[in-house]
């Protein structure tokens, strides 16, 4: 999207608010929904099993080049499912700012 949402004028909307640019939902920062902290991954203990990646309801976990799975905090809503599902308990939910 060329313009931040708070700068779009009513005259600039398509009729019926149609979205003509496919995939622009990726610009929606769902990360600012977080209230319960965010996941912190201990890569020392991570076995690269991808359970967190599979269970994440927002597809907010990305695979690094080394094969670890880390949350993308732009999208992560902090639900904690990854930490709950991790079989080796290497994901800890920590308060924002840590």
């Amino acid at each position: 999207m060329a313009k931040p949402i708070t700068q779009i004028l009513w005259t600039e909307l398509e009729p019926g608010c149609v979205i003509v640019e496919p995939g622009n939902a990726r610009e929606y920062r769902t990360g600012d929904w977080r209230t319960m902290g965010h996941p912190k991954v201990d890569t020392e203990r991570c076995v690269k099993c991808a359970q967190c990646y599979i269970f994440c309801p927002d597809a907010a976990i990305e695979r690094t080049q080394e094969g670890y799975f880390l949350p993308n905090l732009y999208y992560c809503k902090g639900c904690g499912i990854c930490a709950h599902e991790c079989p080796v308990k290497c994901i800890e939910m920590v308060p924002e700012g840590e």
Partner: protein, 390 residues
């Protein structure tokens, strides 16, 4: 010239949709609208109309199918009444918000309870603020003509808004009237093919009906409101060109015998003709009474109402719906709002009547005028239910 026939108004409306060459009809039968879609289903089954007729399981589905097909670029028609309109309510808003030029004929009928199949405007008023262009028809010829007009205006790229054509249930829908049907050549001249700006098509994917954050919703609604208001010149142009082709000219507001009128009866829908009859009788008695008939309900013709009622002392507004605990009737509410800044302005007296098919005769209108003249003060919120036994 067209062909003059004696025809039930519902059948004529279906014939108009057929002549407009609609692509999709999705509807559910409900009294008193049924004859319209019943006849359309026959026209499709008999091969006179090349369209998809979707016999859906409810009115909610009817409007949903209309939205989907209109979004794909199909010229789409439906019709309903009363409870059916109430059931489809949430999708009625979506059709206009997505700016899909569906045409819907509403055979107006009262809302339950008590259950009633007869005519008033309570169903229409339940969708007053849905953002559709809305007209109220006085007779069958108007209803037939306005099907073409509705597509012409709604599909215009400057408008792209659905259009609701209100006809009084039974009083119009089941009336056999002398009508002039236009030749297909006229329709071809008047109504260009539907070319939407955006359509659901795999060649150019778009998203319709996505969500909007608080940061954008206000802008979306502003755009919709401005689009509806901007339909005004297209509405007028559509009427003018129809008049040039057929000799039948329409306006947002019709006036009758208003010259020097002291009292104006203000009506909407088929009651207009009854009010004119009453006005004639009163003129014959030397009373200066005229009639103002509102055809265009949304966008509301504020200026035309002010102009029509200029110099009139008392405006007797007849509503066929109650706004419970509010100002009385929705028509009177708009008329009063239109006049609020005027000085001098007519006294507005609001009667509510003709509910659920209760007959309103010219004599009733005469009584209303008499009563209005005998009353002194009329505040904004005052109204009276006419003819109620007490």
């Amino acid at each position: 010239m067209g062909k003059r026939v004696g025809m039930e108004v519902s059948i004529a409306i279906a014939e108009a949709a057929c002549q407009a060459n609609v692509d999709v009809v999705a509807a559910y039968p409900i009294t008193p609208q049924t004859h319209i879609v019943e006849h359309l289903s026959e026209l499709v089954a008999d091969g006179h109309l090349d369209a998809e007729f979707v016999p859906v399981e409810s009115e909610h589905s009817a409007m949903s199918v209309c939205i989907g097909s209109s979004a794909a670029g199909a010229r789409t028609f439906t019709s309903t009444s009363s409870q059916g309109l109430a059931l489809m309510n949430e999708v009625v808003y979506i059709a206009s918000s997505l700016r899909l030029p569906i045409v819907m004929v509403v055979a107006n009928r009262s809302l339950s309870a008590p259950l009633s199949i007869w005519n008033d405007h309570s169903d229409a008023m339940s969708v007053r603020d849905t953002g559709w262009i809305q007209v109220f028809m006085e007779n069958g010829q108007e209803a037939y003509d306005h099907v073409f007009w509705a597509y012409r205006v709604g599909e215009d790229r400057r408008v792209l808004t659905p259009v609701m054509i209100h006809i009084d249930g039974f009083i119009l829908s089941h009336m056999v009237e002398s009508l002039e049907l236009v030749d297909d050549e006229i329709v071809k001249k008047y109504l260009p093919p539907f070319e939407p700006i955006h359509r659901l098509h795999p060649d150019k994917p778009v998203t319709m009906g996505a969500f909007a954050l608080p940061e954008l919703y206000t802008e979306a609604k502003k755009a919709q409101d401005e689009a509806l208001k901007a339909s005004w010149p297209v509405i007028l142009q559509g009427w003018k060109e129809w008049g040039d082709l057929t000799g039948r000219y329409y306006r947002p507001v019709e006036t009758y015998n208003l010259d020097g009128a002291e009292v104006a009866l203000v009506t909407m829908g088929s009651m207009g003709e009854t009010a004119c009859e009453a006005a004639d009788r009163m003129r014959a008695q030397g009373k200066r009474v005229g009639v103002v008939k509102i055809r265009l309900w949304r966008p509301f013709p504020f200026q035309e109402i002010r102009k029509a009622l200029q110099g009139v002392k008392v405006a007797v507004v007849f509503d066929r719906c109650i706004s419970f605990g509010g100002q009385g009737g929705p028509v009177a509410s708009e008329v009063r709002a239109a006049l609020y800044g005027e000085s001098p302005r007519p006294r507005v007296v609001n009667f509510i009547g003709g509910l659920a098919g209760r007959d309103v005769s010219p004599g009733d209108f005469q009584n209303m005028v008499q009563e209005a003249l005998s009353r002194e003060d009329d505040r904004q919120e005052n109204y009276k239910i006419y003819g109620v036994r007490e």
